[in-house]
Amino acid sequence: MRIPRLLQAVLVLLFVYFGFILVFDVILEAVIPASLIIMYMFFVTAGVFMVFTYDEEQTAELVAPIKAMVEDPSKRLIRNIVFVIVPLAVGGGTYWQMQPSFEAPLELRTIHPAPPTTAKIYGKRVNLLKLENPYRKLEKEDPEQFRELIDEGAAVYIKNCQYCHGDKLDGKGPYAEGLNPTPLNFQDVGTIAQLQESYLFWRITTGGPGLPQEAAPWISSMPVWQDFLKEDEVWKVIMFLYDYTGHRPRSWEHE
C-alpha cells in the first residue's frame, strides 16, 4: 500500500529529527542546545515542505487529507476532536514556553585559541613561531639521554599535574570532577596530537590567566606554571606527555 503524502512528509521530519538526536546525543554524546535544534528543524521543515509542494498535483495530494477532514461532513467527529485538541496543545505549549528557565547560561569558549606571535615567559619576550623544544633533537642524537629527560618529565608530571590531568593522562585526575572547565585529556587525538610543542609551552607557562579573551581565562583552573616550574622542567614534562600517550607533536617541517 502506498503511504499517503502527508504521512510521508511527517515521517521524513521524524526520521531527520531522531537521526540528529541519535548521532549527536547518543553516539557523540554532545550536548546540543535546544535553540540550535529548533533552528535546524525549521530549515528541514521548510525544505521538506518545498519538496512536497513541488507542483500543484503534489500539493493537492499533500493537503487532501487535511481538506477532507475539514470539509467532509462524515468526518465531523474527528474534526471536532482535532479542533479542540489543537488549540489546547498550542495554548499549553505557549504556557510552558513562557515559564522562566533556570538552566545555567550557556558559556561558549575556544578550547585551543590561536596563540599570540610572542608572549612574555620567564621574564623574556618569546617568539612562539620560532620556539622549539631544546631537547627534541636528542631523540635522534642521544636516545639514552632523551629517555632520561622523559623520566624526569614524568616525575614533574606526577608531582604537579596528575591531580587534575590524571595518572593515565586522560583528564580524570582525583580532583578533575571538582573543576569546570574539566582538565584536558591528553590521550585524546584532539588535544596535544594537534599541537606544536611551543603551543604547549605557552599554555603551560602562562596557564589559565594567559589565555586570550575568547578562551575565557577567568574560568580556567590551569595554574601559571612559570611561577612554579623551571623552564627545563616544562620542556621535559611536554616530552613526557608525548611519550606516554604515543602522540607526536606537530611541527613546521614535513616529515
Binding site: V70, G91, E107, L108, D167, L179
Partner: protein
C-alpha cells in the same frame, strides 16, 4: 619493525618453553613482564623499589601503598590470614580506589598485563601462595527495615562502631587515629559513598567488617577474641545499616550548577537548624584542594559543600552545610587533642563578583584580580575567647585581600556544629550602600558564586584551603499569571481560527451542493 616482531616471536617461544618446563619459572616470567608494565604505569607513585616513595608520595592523600610490607587494606581473606587474594589485588588495579589518586586501569591494561603486574608487586614482599582462610559470608541477610534497625543498634551498642565513625556515621573524630606507619588516618565518613575505597555494596561493607582493614585501626569484628565481635548474621545487619547510611549522602550531580533561591513571604530563617531549610533543595558541589595559586595545598579535609538559598523582598540568605570531622575551636582542649599541629578556626567563604556580569566575562575564579575584584563573605568558627564572626573581604587575588566590617553591609552569619556537620547561614540585604564594592542582587539574574573552606584542625589557613570553581546563584523570580494568560489567549485565537475555517468550508460545500457542482 620486522626484527622487533622476530624478537617477540623468539621471546614468546622461549616463554612458552619455560612455561612447559616448570610452573615456578612460569610465574617468574610473568613477574618479569609485569615489571615492564610497572615501570611505565606504577613507578611514579609506588616507587622504583615498591616502597610507595615515588616523587609524588608527599603530596598524595592517602599516600601510595608500600608493597614491601606485603599488607593490603581491602582484602577478602580472613582477618588472621597473612596474604591477600589475587582477586583483591586484581580488583584494586582494575577499578582503582575511589577518593584516592589510584585510577582504575582496566581501560588501558589487559587482564594478562594486570596479572603480570600482580605477580611483580608480590615479589616486593616475597608473597607466595594463597591465603589460608577466607571471609565467611554465611548466608547473606538481605537489606530490610528490620535488618537496618538491628544494624543501627549494633553500630551504636557500647560505641562499637560509633566510637570512631561517629553517632551519625560521619567519621567525626574523638581521638587521633594512626596507621602502622604512624601516618594520620581518618575513620571513613560513611555518608559519602564516593569515598568508599571498595564500594558501598553491602557485601563489600560486610567484607571490611569481617576482615578489618589491615595496617589501620579498623579491626575485624569476626575475631573471636574481640570484645566487640559480631556473628555472621549481626555483621550483615551492620553492613545493611552502613549501606543505608551511604544512600542518604548528599550526592554531587554534575548537571546541577545553579543554586535556586525561592522567594518567601515574611522573615528568612536565621538559624542554620531551622526546619524551613529542609524545604529548599540543596546543590552539592565538590571542593578540591587549592592547588592553583601560590602556595599550593594538597591535603584538604573537606570535599563537598551543600548550598541552599532563600530570599524575600529585602534580604537573601545562604545556607551552607559541610561535613567536618573536627570542630576546630582554638583554645578548646578537646579540639586541640585531635588537631594536627596548629589549631586554627574552621571557616567557609562565599565568593561573589562585585557586580553582576553583563556578558560572559566573570572575575578570575581564584579570588579575582586587580581588574575585577571579588567579594568574599567569610565566616569563622570562633575561639574560646572570641565568638564566631563574619567579615567581608575585598579580594584582588589569592594573596591580596582587605577585610572590611560586615555589619556596615548588613551581612550576618550564624553557625552550628552537630555530629560531624557544620551548618552556617549567611544573610545580607539584597542591596547595600557600597554599590561599587558589594554585589547588588536582582531577581532573575544569574550571579556567579564560588566557595572556599578551611578545616582549622588540618592546618588549613590562608591559601591552604578547599575550593570550588564558579557556579551560579539565581533568585528565582515569581512567574505570576503571565504564562497562563498568554496560553489561554493563544488557545482561544487558534480555536476561533479553526472554527471559522470549519464553518466557511462547510458553507462552501453546502453552496457547491445546492448549485449542483461536482467536486
Amino acid at each position: 619493525m620486522e626484527s622487533g616482531m622476530m624478537k617477540t616471536i623468539v621471546m614468546a617461544a622461549a616463554t612458552a618453553g619455560l612455561l612447559a618446563l616448570s610452573p615456578a619459572l612460569a610465574q617468574a616470567a610473568d613477574a618479569e613482564k609485569g615489571e615492564a608494565v610497572y615501570q611505565k604505569r606504577c613507578l611514579q607513585c609506588h616507587g622504583d623499589e615498591g616502597d610507595g616513595l615515588g616523587p609524588a608520595a608527599d603530596y598524595l592523600n592517602p599516600p601510595p601503598r608500600d608493597f614491601t610490607l606485603g599488607l593490603y587494606k581491602f582484602i577478602s581473606s580472613a582477618f588472621d590470614a597473612d596474604l591477600p587474594n589475587d582477586a583483591d589485588l586484581l580488583r584494586m588495579i582494575n577499578d582503582g580506589m575511589p577518593g584516592t589518586a589510584m585510577p582504575g586501569w582496566s581501560d588501558i591494561l589487559s587482564e594478562t598485563e594486570i596479572q603480570d603486574v600482580i605477580a611483580y608487586i608480590k615479589t616486593f614482599a616475597e608473597l607466595e601462595g594463597a591465603p589460608e582462610g577466607q571471609v565467611d559470608f554465611g548466608t547473606q541477610v538481605q537489606s530490610s527495615p528490620e535488618s537496618i534497625a538491628a544494624g543501627d543498634k549494633l553500630f551504636h551498642d557500647g560505641e562499637r562502631c560509633s566510637e570512631c565513625h561517629g553517632v551519625a556515621g560521619k567519621g567525626d573524630a574523638v581521638k587521633k587515629l594512626k596507621n602502622d606507619n604512624g601516618e594520620r588516618t581518618w575513620p571513613r565518613n560513611l555518608t559519602k559513598p564516593w569515598t568508599y575505597r571498595a564500594s558501598a555494596d553491602p557485601k563489600d561493607i560486610y567484607t571490611r567488617i569481617s576482615a578489618g582493614i589491615p595496617t589501620t585501626q579498623m579491626p575485624s569484628f569476626a575475631d573471636p577474641k574481640s570484645k566487640k565481635k559480631l556473628s555472621v548474621e549481626e555483621r550483615w545487619h551492620v553492613a545493611n545499616y552502613v549501606a543505608a547510611l551511604a544512600k542518604t549522602g548528599k550526592v554531587v550531580r554534575p548537571e546541577n550548577t545553579v543554586i535556586q533561591a525561592s522567594r518567601v513571604e515574611g522573615e528568612l530563617p536565621g538559624s542554620p537548624d531551622d526546619a524551613a531549610w529542609d524545604l529548599a533543595p540543596p546543590s552539592t558541589f565538590f571542593m578540591v584542594p587549592q592547588i592553583v595559586g601560590k602556595e599550593r595545598f594538597f591535603k584538604t579535609a573537606n570535599d563537598t559543600v551543600s548550598v541552599r538559598a532563600l530570599y524575600n523582598d529585602a534580604k537573601v540568605a545562604l545556607h551552607l552545610e559541610w561535613d567536618d570531622r573536627t570542630k576546630s575551636i582554638p583554645g578548646d582542649d578537646k579540639a586541640k587533642s585531635i588537631a594536627d599541629e596548629d589549631l586554627g578556626e574552621d571557616a567557609i567563604a562565599v565568593q561573589l563578583p562585585t557586580t553582576i556580569p553583563a556578558g560572559m566575562e566573570k572575575p578570575y575564579f581564584l579570588m579575582g584580580n586587580s581588574v575585577k575584584p571579588v567579594n568574599l563573605w567569610r565566616w569563622s568558627s570562633g575561639t574560646t575567647e572570641a565568638p564566631e564572626s563574619v567579615a567581608i573581604l575585598d579580594a584582588m587575588g589569592i594573596n591580596e585581600q582587605e577585610a572590611r566590617d560586615a555589619t556596615a553591609a548588613g551581612l550576618t552569619a550564624k553557625g552550628s556544629y552537630k555530629d560531624g556537620t557544620w551548618r552556617v547561614v549567611m544573610t545580607r540585604p539584597l542591596t547595600t550602600e557600597a554599590v561599587d564594592k558589594d554585589l547588588q542582587f536582582e531577581e532573575g539574574r544569574f550571579v556567579p558564586i564560588a566557595f572556599f573552606a578551611w578545616d582549622g584542625s588540618n592546618s588549613e589557613v590562608g591559601t591552604a584551603s578547599a575550593m570550588t570553581t564558579w557556579y551560579w546563584l539565581l533568585l528565582k523570580p515569581s512567574t505570576g499569571a503571565k504564562p497562563m494568560i498568554a496560553g489561554i489567549i493563544v488557545a482561544i485565537l487558534i480555536g476561533g481560527l479553526l472554527f471559522w475555517w470549519g464553518r466557511s468550508a462547510a458553507a462552501r460545500v453546502a453552496s457547491e451542493g445546492t448549485s449542483g457542482g461536482d467536486a
